[in-house]
Amino acid sequence: MADNWPNDAALLEAVIEFLRDDLRLQLTENRLRYNTLIAVNLLGIVKRGIEQQAENHREEKDLLQALLDSPGECDQLNRLLCKEIDEGRWSTKDASLQQTLLKIAVKKVAIDNPLYSTYQQLTQGKTP
């Protein structure tokens, strides 16, 4: 069955536009204007999440399963990795561990704040 129409991302976009381009400009209190911008930002995060979260999740699972040589879902894999790191089973110099963690972090920030300076540097081929 097809998604409800317009889809979730489109609804979020409509709310973003209303808050950012209409309501916010009518507000006089600084605190309310500021919080409205935060609300707009959060809706943008949710929208990007709808678009990217499923693939991020898949990738994270694949990366962690490969790193840990273990099956399982992300929650279990993250818990296992934390435990192994705490138990000293990984050298902090381990390249595969470093690269896995770096890749996962990049994908998370792609949703949470793609304008973040470090994310911009790393994804535009600039020297960090």
């Binding site: 990795l81 770096l102 704040n113 470090t118 994310y119």
Partner: protein, 330 residues
């Protein structure tokens, strides 16, 4: 409620100190999560309608290790006495006033908004001097005698790391990058280090400037006695560069200039590797602070859209941790 606070404050100031608070002049300024800040004019024996600032404990739950307002006033007063640029403290709230903890301090006129200081043309000159000014100011802070700030908690590098780890553990979240960072830092703990007054949150947002100079260091809530290099590292944390990643010191300067000014004032050498340690510690600490604020919201202690949003800044700190470790410090 604010009117009641002002009335009780007026009465207290008059009865305990002979200070008149001009109630009609009082207005709320923006505060932090734990502090309410007001502007108000006061009169005493020889001075009339002197502008002042009132800092009051919000009553909310402070981040672990944050000072009480009484301790905060005491450390600020001590720093002022030892010529750190920071507002003079006039008096503390007394317990019997019934308005909780707080203090009245000097009003300073200047700019504190990081975006303005970093981008407005009028601050171009002071931006050029700011790295040096921060170096000398941090040196002054670190040279305040420990005897003058004995009310503060003492934390070695090891203790600070353990305390931070305990806070992270209390949230029972599985963030491998945080666990990785804790291990990495444990392997590189500064073992022998000085123990001095540490500001604990020295960065734009807590620094007041005018077009010519650094006017005041604000917000002593996280002050403690510890490794002074912690303050230099914190100032280089990427979050506090406010987008100017290429300028590691606060988004306005280079490490060499900061260290040079600091060394010239203290007569001690700064080990860049130690500052790198404290910068990584600072990134991790900011990440844990973000977890803390988010949990305050999620647990229903103090709900706000701002706190919910901070949860999505944790990933920025995770990225900065991995970027530092994999690609090195710039």
């Amino acid at each position: 409620m604010v009117a009641e606070f002002i009335e009780k404050l007026s009465q207290g100031l008059r009865d305990s100190f002979g200070i008149t608070l001009h109630a009609e002049s009082v207005k709320a300024l923006s505060g932090g999560a734990a502090t309410e800040i007001y502007y108000g004019e006061i009169s005493a024996a020889t001075e009339h309608h002197k502008p002042a600032v009132i800092r009051r404990s919000h009553g909310g739950k402070p981040f672990a290790g944050a000072l009480s307002k009484r301790q905060e006033a005491a450390v600020q007063a001590a720093a002022h006495r030892y010529r750190v640029p920071t507002p003079a403290v006039y008096c503390d709230f007394q317990d019997h006033w019934g308005i909780g903890e707080g203090y009245v301090m000097e009003y300073c006129r200047g700019e504190t908004l990081p975006q303005k200081i970093l981008r407005d043309d009028q601050f171009a000159l002071v931006r050029g001097d700011l790295t040096t000014l921060c170096g000398t100011t941090l040196a002054a802070i670190h040279q305040v005698p420990k005897t003058a700030v004995s009310m503060l908690p003492q934390r070695t590098a090891q203790e600070s790391l353990t305390i931070l780890r305990n806070i992270y553990d209390s949230y029972a979240l599985d963030l491998p990058i945080f666990n990785f960072a804790f291990r990495y830092l444990t392997e590189r703990l500064p073992t022998k280090h000085a123990m001095t007054l540490v500001h604990g949150d020295f960065r734009l947002g807590n620094l007041m400037v005018d077009t010519a100079t650094l006017l005041a260091v604000l917000d002593w809530e996280l002050a403690h006695i510890g490794d002074p290099m912690e303050d230099l590292g914190w100032l280089c944390v990427n979050a506090w560069r406010f987008g100017n990643s290429d300028l590691p010191v606060g988004g306005f300067g280079l490490r060499e200039a900061l260290f040079e000014a600091y060394e010239a004032t203290t007569g001690t050498r700064v080990d860049p590797h130690t500052v790198q340690y404290w910068e990584l510690f600072g990134v991790l600490k900011w990440g844990v602070i973000c977890l803390y604020q988010t949990q305050v919201h999620l647990k229903g202690e103090e709900r706000s859209v701002e706190r919910a949003a901070i949860g999505r800044r944790v990933s920025e700190t995770e990225l900065d941790i991995m970027n530092l470790i994999v690609h090195g410090w710039n």
